[in-house]
């Protein structure tokens, strides 16, 4: 019984943890879509593979260039997690022939 309670607690906390992470990731994705698309496509972001420090620098540069970022840390964390320099390069995207 005690064991079951412990397992339930663990599962619950894991569940809460994942959901908090999901929420943060969702907020990060939203921040990316809201702050970065005025001047360029998201492809320019998604093709990068940078360290957290480098992402921070990029976000600050873009804030300097006038983009509005509600929560800088959420955006930097999202970029660092999803487009990290530890990940393999992005697969190339090809356009279709226009003729």
């Amino acid at each position: 019984m005690r064991r079951r309670a412990l397992v339930t607690t663990l599962l619950l906390s894991a569940g809460f943890g994942a959901s908090a992470a999901d929420d943060k990731s969702e907020a990060g994705k939203k921040a990316l879509e809201q702050s970065c698309q005025l001047c360029h496509s998201l492809r320019l972001v998604e093709s990068q593979r940078l360290s957290a420090a480098a992402w921070q620098k990029e976000v600050d540069k873009m804030i300097g260039w006038g983009t509005v970022v509600q929560d800088r840390q959420i955006l930097v964390d999202y970029l660092s997690q999803h487009y990290s320099n530890t990940m393999p390069p992005a697969a190339p995207v090809m356009s279709a022939n226009s003729e």
Binding site: E33, Q37, L38, C39, H40, S41, R43, L44, S47, Q48, R49, L50, S51, A54, K57, E58, G64, W65, G66, T67, N85, P89, A90, P92, V93, M94, S95, A96, N97, S98, E99
Partner: protein, 386 residues
């Protein structure tokens, strides 16, 4: 004037926002770039398009697969409304029309145009910026009046230090305007043009219609597009794209280490380099006679030699230089080879120019990933015939 600018910016911003939403809704569709064959898309708004390597396996690069680099939203310039403003240290300020530019003597200069960041994706540690592979370069024939003849129309003081060029493109929000200053010496070079045509066709909008600065041998950043303003100035422009943008360390530093801005210098001439264009990395070929092919160029200098290794650099053979031998363009090179047996072969190419400059084995790391010119490398899988 200022109010007009602001409202135009606001209109651009509104347009970009609408475009973003529209693009988001169509995310599953493949992008089509009008006037272009299938290209490697690094950014589709504004367009940053890389040429697939197979199209570089020829002397002239067709316009419909020539790479595109844009910093800012592409402006729409109408032929009728176009004027080029000449100002600064000139006898009389003037606005020049396209008809006037066409009346000046026209020259055709073949020249390689290469993005300053070509090969950025090969730097380690990785650096921010468009992640170009090998294809942010091409060789085209550019036609138009000499920059020097245009400057003389307004009686420019040719002893002044710089010519500053601005195009019709503008940054959104507080993004800096793309403005470049070219030293007068290079401005007066007979090969420095204001091009109206590319490979004999009127310049397409993506390549700077109606007027593009052609600065043979120098990095692509100098080749300002949609030029509508030239100012003859004693000092260079101090905007982002002159400083700190498009600068290279005066001395190599540790990869990944920050570089002091005072240790950076403006990029001008390009280094010597070569690319293998006849095969792609990882290509499979049968055990049979084949020809390794590629291109080599050296900025303002000339290619003297291309060496090729089929064994990861243990031994090198001199390739044959083929095709036209003209300043500012690339040489084609070729080396016949019969792979001795099936297996994986690491093929390298290394060019040397007439000044004795050659390609390093390892790229010179720099914070913005400019001027990649390490020895090129592909792997070929040679397979037994069936």
């Amino acid at each position: 004037m200022k109010r007009v600018l602001h409202s135009r910016r606001a209109a651009l911003a509104a347009f970009a926002a609408t475009a973003a939403v529209a693009r988001g809704m169509d995310a599953s569709d493949q992008i089509v770039i009008p006037g272009k064959r299938s290209m490697i898309v690094h950014n589709d708004r504004p367009d940053d398009l890389e040429t697939p390597i197979a199209h570089l396996n020829q002397w002239l690069t067709p316009v419909d697969c020539f790479f595109v680099r844009q910093h800012l939203p592409r402006p729409t310039v109408s032929e009728a409304g176009f004027e080029l403003k000449l100002t600064g240290r000139v006898e009389k300020e003037m606005n020049v029309t396209l008809a006037q530019l066409r009346q000046l003597p026209q020259y055709t200069v073949p020249a390689v145009l290469e993005c300053t960041g070509n090969g950025r994706a090969f730097f380690s540690p990785r650096v921010p910026g468009v992640q170009w592979g090998r294809g942010a370069m091409g060789n085209a024939e550019w036609t138009g009046p000499r920059l020097s003849d245009v400057l003389k129309l307004a009686g420019a003081d040719l002893n002044t230090a710089y010519v500053t060029a601005n195009g019709a493109d503008m940054g959104l929000a507080k993004t800096p305007d793309f403005i470049r200053s070219l030293p007068m010496k290079k401005s007066l070079d007979p090969a420095t043009l204001l091009a109206l045509k590319m490979n004999g066709e009127p310049l397409p909008s993506l390549h700077g219609f109606p007027l593009r600065l052609i600065v043979p041998g120098w990095d692509g950043t100098s080749w300002v597009k949609w030029v509508n303003y030239l100012s003859v100035d004693q000092t260079p422009n101090t905007g982002f794209y002159m400083n700190p943008g498009y600068r290279f360390p005066k001395h190599p530093g540790a990869p990944g280490a920050p570089v002091n801005p005072s240790d950076l210098a403006v990029i001008e001439d390009m280094p010597v380099q070569s690319f293998i264009t006849g095969h792609t990395d990882g290509a499979k070929v049968p055990v049979a006679a084949l020809t390794l092919k590629g291109v080599a160029w050296a900025g303002e200098s000339r290619v003297a030699q291309v060496e090729v290794s089929r064994d990861a650099g243990l031994t090198w053979q001199t390739a044959q230089l083929t095709g036209k031998d003209l300043p500012f363009t690339w040489r084609l090179w070729a080396l016949a080879w019969r792979p001795p047996q099936p297996g994986y072969y690491t093929v390298l190419s290394r060019a040397t120019d007439i000044r004795g400059r050659t390609q390093p084995l390892v790229p010179t790391w720099n914070p913005s990933g400019y001027l990649f010119n390490a020895v090129d490398r592909i792997g070929l899988s040679v397979e037994a015939g069936s």
